[in-house]
Point group: C2
Chain length 241, copies 2
DNA sequence: GCATGTCAAGAGCATTGCTCGCATTTGTTT
DNA sequence: AAACAAATGCGAGCAATGCTCTTGACATGC
């Protein structure tokens, strides 16, 4: 039990370094198998084969198949978060629209490049697997936090429309939830805009999921880039940016 | 090969009736297992056990595990389509907003009631499984066709706003795709509104997927009914209804 | 140099999808 | 009613899977 795993980089004895390297190799191979066969087809035995080791040996490094899934989950959230951060940071802080577009494009690009990993993060839950919240919540909230940050900065700068027509009332129970979010994240955006932000959030991922999961059909939408760009533009209007 | 399957209801000899009944039982049991263990955990052997029959016997009725998945896919699309149709038809033809809301609610209700089947339809593709388009396209397009029908009826009645602020240009390549859709479905809705309709479509399912797949986190949004209602209201504004 | 702890190996258990040969049931036809 | 042929069920078997446990080899650090 209590495997050091990837966290063992400090004060590295040769053993720990070798171990960390092996775990990293396992994650890398797991990523490949994930891409080829999906989360359900992820096989520790196959990873062991590729690692050139007998199947039982990998259990020295990874507690179980679920543990490997968790590692891959964190790994994928991290890479997506890094991509999004890089794309957003490439634009000036005051370019709120540009930053939102960059965020959306970065999510889509990563999803199209890594469909299996995207499916692991945002697709159907893997049956029988429950991600350990204490390890996945932080990396899993990076993108939405980043998006809310853009909206918040725009609001504070007066760049976010106060009212978007048609006005839609926010029911009290929802307003209470949103107030809690506001307090937790320390953002200034008022509830109505925050509520619209939630819709924008779900819509961006809805659009990406439809494309990645093949819901559009084979040849209905050939102009997928343009479709997504258009969707982002409309969503900008929805939130009042 | 060439199993008659469920199609054998006409001119029923006793054999064919018994066979159809057995296939129906297999689908019913498959549905239960799907709900309990997910698509990846769907096991023909387990179905055989529940059917009180040896594992190899089910192959007399269902070609393979993938074939059973296809049957369950069609079954689920059918039920969702029926639910949506019933909900929409319960409102007068001219109540376009009400019909759209009813459609959205029906999708969400069905998804929450049948999360595993919803995941099969709209979640990550099952790895190694490709749905046979010639059997699943028709049932799989019922909901979106119904939604487009509502928009089209509203447009023809002059109830759909011609322009929704802020105006977003539809790039030519996308416009061409949309024109093809218009022609194929025989709808009158102009391209800009149709494009917004696509976003609304993806957004509805994006919102439902987030909720069903647990992307919202455990306790951030307690007022989920209100959240979804709000999202539908905003989406009505997006499409100009 | 030796005790300690780490590691890989291999056998084993229960599970899966699927195939095949053989027996039995069942509906129809003579 | 008897005979036939098709449909059906059975059970063994193959190649996988995840995971456990025991055994023996090895390296580390005192």
């Amino acid at each position: 039990m209590d495997l050091p795993l990837v966290a063992a980089a400090k004060q590295s004895t040769p053993r720990e370094r070798a171990r960390a390297q092996t775990v990293a190799d396992i994650i890398r191979l797991g990523r490949q198998h994930l891409a080829l066969h999906g989360a359900a087809g992820l096989s520790l035995r196959a990873v062991a084969r590729d690692l050139g080791v007998v199947s039982s040996a990998v259990y020295r490094y990874v507690e179980s198949r679920d543990e490997l899934l968790t590692l891959l989950l964190i790994d994928a959230y991290g890479e997506l978060g890094d991509d999004v951060d890089a794309a957003v940071d490439a634009l000036p802080e005051g370019d709120y629209r540009g930053r939102f577009l960059a965020l959306g494009r970065a999510v889509r690009q990563w999803a199209l490049r890594e469909p299996a990993r995207y499916a692991l993060l945002f697709g159907s839950p893997v049956p029988g697997y429950q991600a350990p919240a204490e390890r996945t919540t932080e990396p899993g909230t990076r993108v939405i936090y980043r998006m809310v940050g853009i909206f918040d900065a725009a609001y504070r700068a007066g760049a976010l429309a106060a009212e978007v027509a048609p006005a839609v009332v926010v029911p009290p129970a929802l307003a209470a939830n949103l107030a809690a979010v506001r307090a937790e994240l320390g953002v200034a955006v008022p509830e109505p805009a925050l509520a619209r932000g939630v819709l924008v959030w779900t819509s961006v991922f809805g659009a990406v999921s439809f494309e990645v999961f093949g819901q559009y059909g084979a040849d209905t939408f050939a102009a997928r880039d343009e479709l997504f760009e258009h969707q982002l533009e409309v969503l900008l209007g929805v939130v009042g940016l």
